[in-house]
Point group: C2
Chain length 307, copies 2
């Protein structure tokens, strides 16, 4: 009796949304594909998992039984694979670190330099992640630690220490009328189209749209991008504006894109994150210590404070 864990994830999404169409969006597949997969799971088990009706998919009793047990099964599989990867890296003396765009910017080199001084027999591999995976590989166990912008989706499952706090600015097309000002009140941007992260990155996308600081007005989306280059391109094209950490002005300067300070929007924070399983891993903890020292952060700065 074999199943692809993908099928179980699909099933849980549908069970959770109680709606095929919305679940399909969340899973980034088409509705018919999901419909077929669910049906296949049902025939494979010989069990009706949902009762279909004009207003959605409701779990049957059997479906509820599966919904109750599938998460544990998925977790067990995930855990097995993650631990396998972690073991391989431990054996090879390789520390993989994920990062998102310019997460730790200037500090990155200093962090790596410190780490190699402490652990000369280890090798650090930096792996840039696309914005469609804001955990930069932590969730899949592809990295041992990650340098991230906070908040990030699923942050509750990981340990986080804050390293840097910096104001958020706005990136504008150079020709944009507001570009003439030295500082821009955030309210002036409410009506602007924004270049956003892909849907499905949830709170992370919302954070960079400052969705919670717009007095309830929904943001306008001008474009959706996945990588720094596309993002710059979209802004230069005039598809929209975007909030960005102040340091982006140094790291992502480009003709056609202008950066300006913004008044009235919360700052951005950079953190180092690691999976709970690495709490006792001295190498990962050394890396975390290097992050804290390299950025001059007090050792006690936890992420929980005022997210």
């Amino acid at each position: 009796m074999d199943v692809d864990t993908r099928l179980l994830r699909y099933f849980l999404a549908v069970a959770d949304e109680a709606n095929l169409t919305r679940a399909a969006e969340r899973l980034f597949v088409s509705q018919p594909a999901l419909s077929k997969q669910i049906k296949q799971l049902e025939t494979q088990l010989g069990v009706r998992l949902f009762t279909r009706s004009h207003d959605g998919m409701a779990l049957t009793d059997a479906g509820r039984a599966l919904a109750a047990r599938a998460p544990a099964a998925l977790a067990a599989c995930d855990n097995a694979l993650r631990e396998t990867k972690a073991t391989a890296r431990r054996v090879d003396h390789v520390l993989r670190v994920g990062f998102l765009a310019n997460a730790a910017n200037e500090a990155t080199q200093e962090i790596v330099a410190r780490f190699t001084r402490i652990r000369p027999d280890w090798h650090v591999t930096m792996r840039q992640a696309s914005w469609s995976d804001p955990t930069a590989g932590l969730a899949d166990g592809d990295v041992d630690a990650a340098l991230l912008r906070l908040p990030f989706p699923g942050s509750s499952g990981f340990r986080v220490r804050v390293l840097i706090t910096e104001p958020r600015w706005v990136a504008l097309p150079a020709a944009h009328p507001l570009a003439v000002h030295d500082e821009i009140p955030f309210e002036d941007l409410w009506g602007e189209p924004f270049v956003a992260a892909p849907a499905g990155t949830g709170p992370w996308r919302d954070y960079w749209l400052a969705a919670g600081e717009r007095d309830g007005r929904p943001p306008r989306i001008g474009a959706v991008t996945d990588q720094p280059d596309d993002w710059l391109q979209a802004i230069a094209n005039g598809d929209g504006v975007a909030l960005a950490p102040a340091s982006a002005a140094r790291f992502y300067a480009r003709p056609g894109v202008t950066y300006r300070p913004v008044r009235g929007v919360s700052p951005s924070r950079v953190g180092v994150a690691w999976p709970p399983a690495a709490d006792r891993d001295p190498v990962v903890q050394d890396f975390v210590a290097c992050c804290l020292h390299a950025t001059g952060s007090p050792r006690s700065t936890h992420a929980g404070e005022g997210l």
Copy 2:
């Protein structure tokens, strides 16, 4: 990070055998297919799981880590699916019973009759299994209970009560020289080709070849069959002889096939088996009670005694 549980099973088989070719046989796939699958698992994880050498596949440290955790993950998945099926049947008031060929022969009707008298609102579904699945669907959770010939592979994972004990006879081609005798000493059959169950049914196959009662001589295999009809056909064809429960003479009489008592071979036992998860299921326990009553078995007859 999705995996098909099949991949994990494949991996565990290779880890266990430390040999691709033998693992492939055990899994009933070709060696190249298995080779590719293992390689794919490795690339998907980005981790070497085995070191290949001229004399087999040896686990790496990472491979050992996976081998340690995969069984639990597989068990969690299996459990989720099995419980789902069981729940569906409970809701529908359906009891599925697997059986192997003529396992409980005459008693079957009596068992079902008793059960329907006790549980008039329930419906019993009998499902005949092929010999390539000697647990008759118990292992996959496809049935709530099964009527089986003992011993069967994996019997240790299930509860079993013995119902019937009957001598084993031999089924011969009608024209076979030995068919003239009223009773045949088992030694006289040692040299005969046998019609056997598929390899991969392990101890079950061996039991019906009486491999342990041949004084060390290996059995000769004349044909391999999967179902009663093929089995009868093979014997009538003269492909070989086969041990069979005495009752087969009544249930599987056919021109060209003769049944004779055998002296010097242990008897066959029929049992009812159920998964431990159903220990507390009153419906399954009622069914078990019906089995015991219908066959006049004392309630205390456990399977463990003198297997």
